[in-house]
């Protein structure tokens, strides 16, 4: 497999992969915070779990944003001799960035609204 093909395929699934890692990190943060009785500690007005989820969301959002910006550029000015295929990868990557951000915010949002360790 050529490195260009590998890079294109990896970029294509980059945003949903980031969503998945973000999802598991949020789940792990809440589980570990509740397990370790850190639920009461507060950092800049947020409890430990909320803080962790917010940081994870900002990092994941920034990564997805950077993929989206690159893809947008490639969509407008597809590089190389295979413009049609470059454009195909770029547009699908962009669409996947959009749905990944939506799903990521959807998942992270309840952290700010619900009690962290309530059963």
């Amino acid at each position: 497999m050529g490195s260009l093909t590998f890079r294109r395929l990896l970029t294509l699934v980059g945003a949903p992969l980031i969503w998945m890692v973000h999802f598991l990190v949020c789940y792990a943060i809440v589980s570990l915070v509740c397990l370790s009785q850190l639920g009461e500690a507060r950092i800049i007005g947020l409890n430990a779990a909320q803080f962790g989820v917010v940081v994870a969301t900002l990092v994941a959002g920034a990564l997805i944003f950077s993929i989206a910006v690159t893809s947008l550029r490639r969509w407008r000015n597809p590089p190389g001799p295979d413009a049609e295929i470059s454009r195909f990868f770029a547009v699908n990557t962009l669409l996947l960035c959009a749905i990944s951000v939506l799903a990521m915010l959807w998942v992270a949002f309840p952290t700010l609204m619900l009690p962290t360790c309530a059963l």
């Binding site: 497999m1 050529g2 260009l4 093909t5 294109r8 395929l9 294509l12 699934v13 949903p16 992969l17 969503w19 998945m20 999802f23 949020c26 789940y27 809440v30 589980s31 570990l32 509740c34 397990l35 779990a49 295979d82 049609e84 295929i85 195909f88 547009v91 699908n92 669409l95 996947l96 749905i99 990944s100 939506l102 799903a103 959807w106 998942v107 949002f109 309840p110 952290t111 619900l114 009690p115 962290t116 360790c117 309530a118 059963l119």
Partner: protein, 842 residues
């Protein structure tokens, strides 16, 4: 870019060329049928076997519905009802839905991709036999009065040795795991087929949408099935040998089973739905008389569904006591997955809206699918809401939702597919009237069964209870559901009669009867075993709409691989993105080895079931032997040149490649294997979180000396295997053999040192989950290193016999890939069992 060539006058007649292809690719008759590996035949076997299991599962559901017709009914007692719902769910999920969808893909996909067969024909056949034997093993439980009765989800502790001492659970665990080998094999094969064997010009942006659906489904199988396989292995080890993983008293946790089961179980729903949606996406544009609207949107939606569906599993566990916020994550993901599904639904509607739809029986089933599936999807969004789920959890509301999604989302598209592709198979027209009568009977029957069942559930009737009291007020709704169930069954019977009648009396049809645009309709009827007399070059998403003369051009041998001097089974291997021809793959012919390998594997499972572990060991060794024979059949000892690719010019044979089909298959199989190992590590860390002390009180630390020495031996082995690959390509045969020998010795040394570590650690395997995991993770690695040792010895012999050669380096690359993987796996394993306890220990 290749263009079709004109047939030359010196070519033998078309008839003799086709006869030659037929002789090379044909299926033997009589007992030879057991040796067939061709995808058309194997796909049909999957479909027919799957349909038989569908009928068996359907009969079980009729038993249940009959029992529930009236309050206090005594047709089935508690035990028989438990067996019926367990076998119904197990059969429908593991032995009908997944295999039949795989079977349809195995049958259709090579034709749609413009190739002659799947890339691993023997693996297709092996997968089929594993599936069949797994089903027979499961159903043989009826002969021993040990029918599984613990639910298709096999929850703990109900199904532990303590509460289910009989062989019922073992029949389930072993039968289902056996069939899962088949699913994973098909997953690996379909991925490599789609990525590497699309015909010339079928660039990734021109790939049929069905192939996108199957690609995502196959990846989901590769990542989704291993957690359940692992959970089943752990449960079987616990039941057979007493190593605790799920026993709370000994540091285990029944919730570990639920997590592993549903990490598999929810993606499983999409593993069933996505290929069915792929069928809809293929059929619908034909009848809308226009290409699918929003190709890119659909590709995105399918990929997104594949990912998000792995974040839903806890919505099956909303009632087990997980923190509320964690539930909210899964609730949000469960709602978010409706977005890509909705995009697909809108794309289907837009295609119909902007086309000129023609009504036909397949179209009727698709409309039925849309109606029922959307309703099921909406109740799915309701169930994603935690408070609502708590109200209806484990009630018949969930049964109704699940059947709206699965019957609507999978069985209706399957029936549409039957009617759509039957003329390709039979060359005959399907009926106009009887087929519609069957549709309306099934459609009405289904809704009469399951629409009232939502109410039954909301009135509080729990699932999996064999009867109820009259004063609860569920009698009339249950009576209606039972009537609907029998109407559905009559509808399925009419459909079967219709299909049989069509084979006997249907009028002959013209080729491409529906005027479809996809390549499978360029295949002649009856379908020849080689599909295409020459492989097409395509430059459009709907090749037959762009060039209606394509079937004739292919038949005339005017495209690729249409040369007259063909002597072997040849298909094209192409690049992943552009589908540029790279090589010609020589496929193996008919062979009995897959059947023998599957039969010997069944010996392993039977030995385990009967607790005759010596028999299981013989079965394991013998099946490994069969697989080595299989591997030895590969390759070539001759200097290989190139072959006439027709319009693509001369192409090398795959033997000369570095990244052979075998390397691709190994890579994807290792993804599944890696997921199995990650699931095992998940078990370790999950049980750490529920354990008050890790390692448990009274356990001393394991000294790191021996494990480090073992790891060093493994590193040396991996290094030797990698260097052997390099030295083989440098034509230093003696050094290569020595390095493979060194790798094998290093592997054996690792095994010895790791076993000494376990013996010296004095950690008992059966006293606590900590010890059980220490031994299981080590055992998992030891098995891998054992396989790596066998591979090194095998490679050494292949060098000696001239198969592994500087001009044919592929196998060396496969062996080094496996060794490197084994080493990386142990990096995680070593850190987990040897370093982590030192970090967290008291």
């Amino acid at each position: 870019m290749p263009t079709p060539v004109s047939p030359s006058s010196s070519e033998p007649s078309q008839a003799s060329r086709l006869a030659r292809l037929q002789a090379i690719w044909g299926n033997p008759s009589g007992l030879g049928a057991f040796t067939v590996v061709n995808h058309t035949t194997v796909g049909l076997r999957f479909i027919i076997t799957g349909f038989i299991f569908f009928l068996i599962g359907g009969i079980l559901s009729m038993w249940m519905r009959s029992q529930l017709t009236f309050p206090g009914n005594d047709l089935l007692d508690h035990q028989a009802y438990a067996e019926a719902f367990t076998m119904h769910g197990t059969t429908m999920m593991f032995f009908f839905a997944v295999p039949i969808m795989e079977g349809i893909a195995v049958y259709l996909l090579p034709k749609m991709l413009g190739t002659r067969d799947l890339i691993y024909p023997r693996l297709s056949a092996f997968g089929y036999w594993c599936y069949l034997f797994g089903g027979l093993l499961l159903y043989s439980s009826f002969l021993f009065d040990a029918v599984p009765d613990g639910g298709w989800f096999m929850y703990l502790p109900l199904n532990s040795a303590q509460f289910s001492a009989g062989a019922n659970v073992d029949f389930w665990l072993l039968g289902v795991t056996f069939a899962e080998i088949s699913a994973v094999a098909a997953g690996v094969e379909l991925i490599v087929a789609i990525l590497k064997t699309r015909t010339s010009g079928m660039a990734i942006n021109r790939m049929p949408l069905y192939a996108w659906y199957i690609l995502v489904m196959a990846f989901m199988i590769v990542f989704g099935f291993p957690p359940l396989i692992l959970a089943s292995i752990l449960l079987e080890i616990e039941r057979a040998f007493g190593l605790p993983f799920y026993d709370t008293a000994l540091g285990g946790d029944p919730l570990l089973w639920q997590h592993l089961f549903w990490i598999f179980g929810h993606p499983e729903v999409y593993i069933i739905f996505l290929p069915a949606a792929g069928l809809v996406t293929t059929i619908l544009p034909t009848f809308a008389r226009r290409p699918m609207v929003g190709y890119n949107w659909v590709v995105m939606a399918v990929i997104a569904t594949g990912f998000i569906s792995f974040g839903l599993w806890v919505h099956h566990m909303f009632a087990v006591g997980i923190p509320l916020l964690s539930l909210a994550f899964f609730s949000a993901a469960s709602m978010a997955v409706a977005v890509p599904t909705g995009i697909q639904v809108f794309a289907w509607i837009a295609t119909l809206w902007s086309g000129k739809p023609v009504m036909s029986t397949p179209m009727l089933y698709i409309l039925g699918f849309l109606f029922i599936f959307v309703l099921g999807g909406l109740t799915g969004v309701m169930l994603a809401l935690v408070p609502f789920d708590w109200q209806v959890h484990d009630t018949h509301f969930v049964v109704a939702h699940m059947h709206y999604v699965l019957f609507g989302g999978m069985i209706f598209p399957m029936f549409a597919a039957f009617y759509y592709w039957l003329p390709l198979l039979s060359g005959r027209e399907t009926s106009q009237h009887l087929s519609r009568i069957a549709f309306w009977t099934i459609f009405i029957g289904f809704n009469v069964t399951f629409l009232p069942m939502h109410l039954t559930g909301m009135l509080g009737m729990p699932r999996r209870v064999y009867t109820y009291l009259p004063e609860l007020g569920w009698g009339m709704l249950n009576f209606i559901s039972t009537v609907g169930g029998f109407v559905t069954a009559i509808g399925v019977a009419i459909l079967m009669v219709d299909v049989i009648v069509h084979f006997l009396f249907g009028k002959p049809v013209k080729p491409n009867v529906w005027n479809a645009g996809s390549l499978e309709w360029a295949v002649p009827t009856p379908v020849p075993p080689y599909n295409f007399a020459s492989q097409p070059h395509v430059d459009d998403r709907e090749p037959l709409w762009k060039n209606p003369e394509l079937p004739q051009e292919l038949q005339d041998g005017r495209h690729l691989l249409g040369h007259a001097d063909v002597t072997r089974r040849e298909i094209l291997m192409t690049s992943i993105t552009h589908a540029t021809p790279q090589a010609v793959v020589i496929l193996p012919g008919n062979t009995v080895v897959p059947l023998i390998a599957a039969a010997l594997t069944s010996l392993f499972f039977i030995g385990f079931l009967a607790k005759l572990y010596w028999l299981a060991a013989i079965g394991a060794a013998a099946s490994l032997g069969a697989l080595l024979v299989w591997a030895w059949q590969n390759g070539s000892r001759d200097d290989v040149g190139d072959v006439d690719g027709g319009a693509a010019g001369r192409l090398p044979l795959h033997y000369g490649l570095t990244l052979t089909p075998g390397w691709w298959g190994t890579l994807i199989a290792l993804l599944a294997d890696g997921t199995l190992f990650i699931s095992l590590l998940f078990a370790y860390y999950f049980l750490w979180t529920v354990s008050p002390q890790w390692p448990p009180a009274g356990y001393r630390d394991i000294s790191l000396g021996l494990p480090i020495a073992a790891f060093a031996a493994l590193l040396l082995g991996a290094l030797a295997a990698s260097l052997a690959n390099v030295s083989n390509r440098a034509a230093r045969s003696g050094v290569t053999q020595m390095l493979y020998g060194a790798a094998a010795v290093s592997g054996v040394l690792f095994i010895v040192l790791q076993v000494m570590t376990l013996l010296g650690s004095a950690v008992p395997a059966k006293a606590h989950a900590y010890g059980a995991l220490l031994h299981t993770i080590s055992g998992f690695q030891i098995v891998h290193v054992g396989i790596a040792v066998v591979m090194a010895v095998f490679a050494l012999l292949r060098v000696r016999h001239g198969y592994l050669h500087p001009a044919r380096p592929g196998e060396g690359k496969v062996v080094s890939l496996f060794w490197q993987y084994t080493m990386l796996q142990w990096l995680l394993g070593f850190a987990t069992i040897h370093v982590f306890p030192l970090l967290v220990g008291g």
